[in-house]
């Protein structure tokens, strides 16, 4: 029998029982649907995580100040050491690291540890002094006004992060640039608004969206290197040169080597205090990728199980179908249908069922994922390859679970089935 006639015949047979066909492929529909939805959600989460990591820059090493763990001395002795705390990354560190082979530049940031008040409310935003290359190195963009420049010198001008702008000014207010804000009785003129679209958070200073930026020069002049922390009941002076180094690497293939060098240097210089932390976004990216791979394997197993269940359901119905249609099979065999014709007829029917089920399942999965986006505000991402893969796998399920019923159909003895009236 010609292939086109065969395909038409199988399709025609399915169309005779539309409802039954749909019910038969329900297992596949839900199997493929859930797989697509889960993949879309995990892919969305992955892309978001990857973007955040990539936004930090895979060619960077982030070195940050960490509040050193309290030693016994701190707890017992409340005299000098508690009043003046000197720790963290120093100018000396910056100079040393910037001389390392593979280091191209170092972007620095310092947390001003100032309280930012809005009326009577204390806001969770930080005043951060940064070097001028911070805008580019953090991959942020200016949405209003301008970024800090060398010409600002030590003037009291600041750039607001998008979230800081939202807390300090009402949503409708357009003339944010040029406005003045007060930070612990010091007036700062807003010259621009910055936004980081990747949601990156840097160790030591947090997300650029939450910060208020002033130039490093201004922060040196006004804040000094020491900062008063008045959030505790006791007055405490912390002496921190820098909170964060965003170290740009010249050759990314030696990033491991460079990070080891930085680590060993820091281990040596800051031997007594554990006041620093090194982070390599590229490593995070690799870790994330590995986590993602495990996740994909788990997903794949769930997909496999649901398709298995769906496939068994289809096989069951097809076997019943073969029994029900044995008179048709016998008649076809008598009229000249080869065993191979019968096998193909039933196999195509199953493949059609699973493929249609796969198609509907993809639609269902896309629908579920869209609902999740709308209701739970999770990012989802579809890629054509897993939709294609789902369709291919469902057709393949048809072949696996259709073969036995089709073979069974072809084994029917025409004499016996013709006699069975």
């Amino acid at each position: 029998m010609k292939l086109t006639d065969q395909i038409w015949l199988s399709f025609h047979n399915l169309m005779l029982h539309k409802i039954r066909s749909v019910l038969t492929s329900l297992g596949i529909i839900f199997g493929v649907g859930s797989v697509i939805a889960m993949l879309a959600i995990s892919e969305g989460a992955k892309i978001q995580a990857m973007e955040q990591i990539e936004a930090m820059g895979v060619d960077k090493i982030i070195l940050s100040t960490k509040v050193p763990p309290a030693t016994s001395k701190d707890v017992s002795d409340t005299s000098t050491s508690s009043l003046l705390d000197t720790y963290g990354l120093t100018e000396k560190d910056r100079e040393h690291i910037s001389r390392m082979d593979n280091v191209e530049s170092i972007c620095v940031a310092r947390d001003g540890r100032k309280r930012i008040m809005h009326g009577m409310k204390r806001l969770g935003h930080k005043l951060v002094g940064v070097s001028l290359d911070f805008l580019d190195e953090s991959r942020s963009v200016i949405t209003q006004g301008r970024w800090l420049s060398a010409a600002d010198g030590s003037n009291n001008v600041c750039v607001l992060g998008a979230n800081a702008r939202r807390s300090l000014f009402p949503l409708g207010q357009k003339d944010v640039v040029g406005a003045t804000i007060l930070i612990e009785d010091m007036a700062y003129k807003v010259i621009g608004v910055l936004e980081n679209r990747y949601g990156t958070a840097f160790d030591g200073i947090g997300s650029p969206n939450d910060n208020i930026f002033i130039s490093m020069k201004a922060s040196d002049a006004i804040l000094g290197k020491a900062a008063y922390d008045t959030s505790q009941r006791t007055i405490k002076i912390e002496n921190v040169d820098y909170d964060t180094f965003i170290i740009k690497i010249r050759d990314i293939s030696y990033i491991d080597h460079t990070s080891r060098r930085i680590t060993s240097y820091m281990n040596k210089i800051h031997a007594d205090t554990k006041d620093w932390n090194v982070l390599v976004p590229l490593d995070l990216l690799h870790q994330q990728e590995q986590t993602q791979n495990i996740f994909t394997v788990v997903m794949g197993s769930i997909a496999g199980i649901s398709l298995l269940v769906g496939g068994i359901g289809i096989m069951n119905i097809m076997l019943a179908n073969v029994y029900e249609r044995r008179k048709e099979i016998g008649t076809r065999r008598a009229l000249g249908a080869q065993k191979s014709d019968i096998i193909r007829q039933f196999l195509f029917e199953t493949i059609f069922l699973t493929s249609i089920g796969g198609g509907l399942g993809v639609a269902l999965g896309v629908g579920i994922a869209e609902c999740v986006t709308i209701l739970a505000n999770w990012p989802v991402a579809f890629s054509t390859w897993f939709i294609l893969l789902a369709l291919l796998i469902s057709a393949f399920t048809g072949i696996i679970f259709g073969t036995y019923p089709a073979w069974k159909a072809a084994q029917q003895n025409p004499i016996e089935v013709l006699r069975a009236e």
Binding site: M1, T331, A334, L335, G336, Q338, I415, L418, E421
Partner: protein
């Protein structure tokens, strides 16, 4: 001398049921010429059904030779037998065995699907045969919309599509009332008149007179041959 359509020699069929051997056909000889209208008769248990299955190439004899158009087909493979069924034998069943979801025309065309006749030719042949069995006006109907007699006409048209060596009809009037049955016999006679070979298997002794020759089976052997044309009856010894 008319051309021989089929020739059976010493056909035996023994069913094995565990230890038990049940001989059903115990050496049947028969030959049927092209253009003949032959009835195979016998009461139940005489071996009629087995004979039908062997003649229709649905079953293989345990021993003996079966020549169809001069070709020995007794021990061919399933694949070859299927091909021969498709092109050499036109089946007509007692319960019509039409496909209820196909139209009359599609039903007629089914055997041609398996012999891979091109679509245009299929349509031409099915229309021509529908006309022959007087069903041209029913081409787009489905079997459920037809009477029993009409269904059997569709089946007869279907049996003719590949221009077979013979039509093998199994109790073709068994599911029909007497009047319709007579009509169907009329169709067979018309086909016989234009030279079609017909073998009809029936248990109905009333049909003894309607064909050229009657072959009576009893206990797995040919018991009696009634030749209506020569007007003579030959009886054989059976135990």
């Amino acid at each position: 001398m008319p051309q021989e359509a089929l020739h059976l020699e010493n056909i035996r069929k023994t069913y094995v049921n565990g230890e038990l051997q049940v001989p059903v056909l115990k050496g049947v000889d028969m030959h049927i010429d092209r253009g003949e209208f032959v009835c195979i008769m016998g009461s139940s248990g005489a071996g009629k059904s087995t004979m039908l299955n062997i003649l229709g190439l649905l079953d293989k004899p345990t021993s003996g030779s079966y020549r169809l158009d001069g070709q020995d087909v007794a021990q061919l493979s399933d694949k070859d037998l299927t091909t021969l069924r498709n092109i050499r034998i036109g089946f007509v069943f007692q319960s019509f065995n039409l496909f209820p979801h196909l139209t009359v025309q599609e039903n007629i065309e089914v055997p041609m699907l398996y012999s891979e006749v091109p679509r245009a030719k299929r349509h031409r042949i099915s229309k021509m045969l529908a006309e022959k069995v007087k069903l041209s006006h029913r081409l787009d109907h489905r079997p459920t919309q037809l009477s029993g007699g009409e269904c059997q006409r569709v089946a007869i048209a279907r049996s003719l599509v590949n221009n077979p060596t013979f039509i093998l009809a199994d109790e073709p009037t068994g599911n029909l009332d007497e009047k319709t049955g007579t009509e169907i016999l009329g169709v067979f006679h018309e086909l016989h008149d234009v030279g079609t070979t017909i073998i009809m298997v029936t248990h109905n002794p009333g049909y003894e007179g309607i064909c050229d020759r009657v072959i009576w089976l009893r206990n797995g052997r040919v018991w009696k041959i009634i030749d209506n044309i020569a007007g003579k009856t030959t009886e054989f010894e059976t135990e």
